[in-house]
Symmetry: C2
Subunit: 384 residues, 2 copies
């Protein structure tokens, strides 16, 4: 197996895009390729994620992007795994490059939903749940994650300030990230006075609907030869699934797919949690961050919820989590999210995370979840 590197990465500003999804995808792809020092003609395969293209009447986006890049002959496909779509696409790119099938791949995620009303947008999101058993019965993602948060609260009672500290931390980070949807800090008062959305989750526990696009270039070490940026060596690219429906799971105190994918990733990388310097985890809701850092093995069960309030996971803490602002505050353009986590690692590795630098950037982990954990991808990166 060859060593596969992330050699270029780019993101637009999440929030509300004037661009269509494909336009945004093409722009960030060009930017990522330019940053990599490679040229479009070096790309051997384009992996796209664009879950809600149908809201723009557009599927089969790969050939359109490749056309815009001047490489129409290059094969492409779109990869979907709910909110873990673009990390699933990254996995395919890793496999193709590391396996020697191609020398370089483009991975791009793009999403536009802001032209829809909230009900329509919520309906699009809800298709990632189990329709006959969840969605049709009224379940939405705030409700499902609210259920997880309730179960966690029952098992490990904690004051609301603990989830609040996660939101505050991620907003503080996003305030320093030019790609972020919400570039402003919030206070504990703001958090505590925000309305309940799905008990116990408040407005500021929830990530927003965001438009956005992000892209990375994955290339074989021997193909790149002289990288023009500090490459991210992909030490692990691991995925797992899980029972979709929460009512069928043995307990609700963690996501089985995270545990499996995390353990696989650490085995692949020959690392342990203590070897990771910082990470981006899937905080679609604050409770999801608390649970993720436990399931990945960084904190004992029931203690992840304290980590932000105790200052462990803040940007200059012992183990910074979501220095980008996370889904919570950087935003969550579904198909761009997984790749945008890697953009944050790229910017931290390359000294481009101005004003939000983490103390140590030797190794990083990204964790991306589909729906309520039906799918999960974990990637681990290091320097050369």
């Amino acid at each position: 197996m060859r060593e596969a590197w992330v050699v270029g990465a780019a993101s637009n500003r999440f929030g509300k895009m004037a661009d269509t999804g494909r336009e945004a995808a093409t722009r960030v792809s060009l930017a990522a390729i330019e940053k990599s020092g490679l040229e479009p003609k070096d790309i051997g395969y384009t992996f796209v994620s664009n879950c809600f293209g149908i809201a723009e009447h557009q599927a089969h986006v790969g050939p359109l992007i490749n056309g815009g890049l001047g490489i129409p002959d290059v094969p492409s496909c779109t990869v979907e795994s709910a909110c873990a779509s673009s990390s699933a696409a990254l996995h395919e790119a890793f496999v193709q490059v590391a396996g020697g099938f191609i020398d370089a791949a483009l991975v791009v995620g793009s999403e536009k939903l802001s032209h829809l009303d909230t009900l329509a947008a919520t309906s699009y999101f809800a298709i990632a749940a189990d329709y006959p058993f969840e969605t049709r019965n009224g379940a939405t993602f705030p409700g499902l994650y609210g259920t997880l948060a309730s179960a966690y609260q029952a098992a490990f009672p904690h004051p609301p300030e603990m989830l609040g500290a996660i939101a505050i931390k991620n907003h503080a980070n996003a305030a320093r990230n030019p790609h972020a949807h919400f570039q402003r800090e919030i206070s504990m008062d703001t958090y505590l006075s925000s309305p309940i959305i799905a008990s116990p989750l408040r407005l500021y526990d929830c990530c927003p609907f965001s438009d956005g696009a992000a892209a990375v270039v994955v290339a074989a070490k021997e193909f790149v030869k002289k990288p023009v940026t500090e490459p991210l060596v992909i030490r692990a690219s691991a995925r797992a699934g899980s029972i979709t429906d929460m009512q069928d799971r043995p307990d609700l105190l963690g996501l089985p797919a995270t545990k499996i994918a995390g353990a696989k990733a650490f085995r692949q990388a020959h690392m342990e949690p203590k070897d990771i310097d910082f990470m981006e985890v899937h905080d679609c809701f604050t409770i999801a961050e608390a649970v993720a850092i436990e399931d990945l093995g960084f904190f004992p069960k029931g203690t992840g919820v304290k980590a932000a309030l105790e200052g462990v996971t803040v940007r200059d803490g012992r183990l910074p989590v979501n220095s980008s602002g996370g889904l919570k505050a950087k935003g969550h353009p579904v198909s761009a999210t997984g790749v945008s986590q890697v953009v944050e690692v790229f910017e931290q590795f390359n000294g481009l995370a101005h004003g939000r630098e983490v103390p140590k950037t030797g190794t990083a982990l990204t964790h991306n979840v589909g729906a309520t954990g039906g799918s999960c991808s974990v990637h681990i990166f290091s320097h050369r």
Copy 2:
């Protein structure tokens, strides 16, 4: 690189399904795994195609299928490349198995559209074209392929009986295929008296909207050890793209993506067209079959249209094409089509194509196109 085999394959009857897309996908997956002699627990990754899941309010189908198979922990993703979706998924499975990342993969395509009215179904299909430049201006696939047929007619004038013979041949084959949507023969009179849909294409030049599901199991040679069926050795798995919009192409007499993917596949397999015994090509419209067998190098440009009328591509001819009935008559459940072509090869290789046996089954080629050629996949198979 390891040798990758197709060791099991199954399809339901195309047409109108009572099952939902995910139910059908789960059923054919179980059938394909059972045929392979492997067990669900042997599957290391599930690749799904299901372009129009949103018409059933359902994305993120992989974890649901894996749940039904009793392997919820197995990772999955959905792969889309318009009508070439499940052959794109097959390509990812091939890469993962041949590259040594997993030992066995499930590839399943499923589609249900019959609960929609024709306008809604046509709208779903149309999202694979270029929305601002084609779809929004009224282009539909019959219209776009009618344009290709007109250009071909202008360059290579031919009587309507030539395209008619393709339809008649494929209906005759489908009449002998229990998986087919249209299990009945048609006459030249029926063809010639059918209404024009998009000049020069008549009703019987067009494939139907079909529901359907098909699955294959891809496994490494050394993992299978003692195959219980005659495996299909994957000699080539090649993909290419092309400019999506027909108005931007240098000519309309062929599909560039077919030419590139075909040439790649023959190089990979160390074969030439003369080495292929039979093939399944993407005949969404009769003209597409004529053009495909030219672009793949089997017939000089302008002569593919004669091949059926002259008896070359009929089931017992020198080079049988679409012994399954093709998209034209077996049906075209978009995401199941690419995999169902492989099901036909599997049934021919294993003596299961009762009543529609082709004379020689040493090698086979499958050709699957996305939209009007924005994407193309070509696979070549042989016996051990």
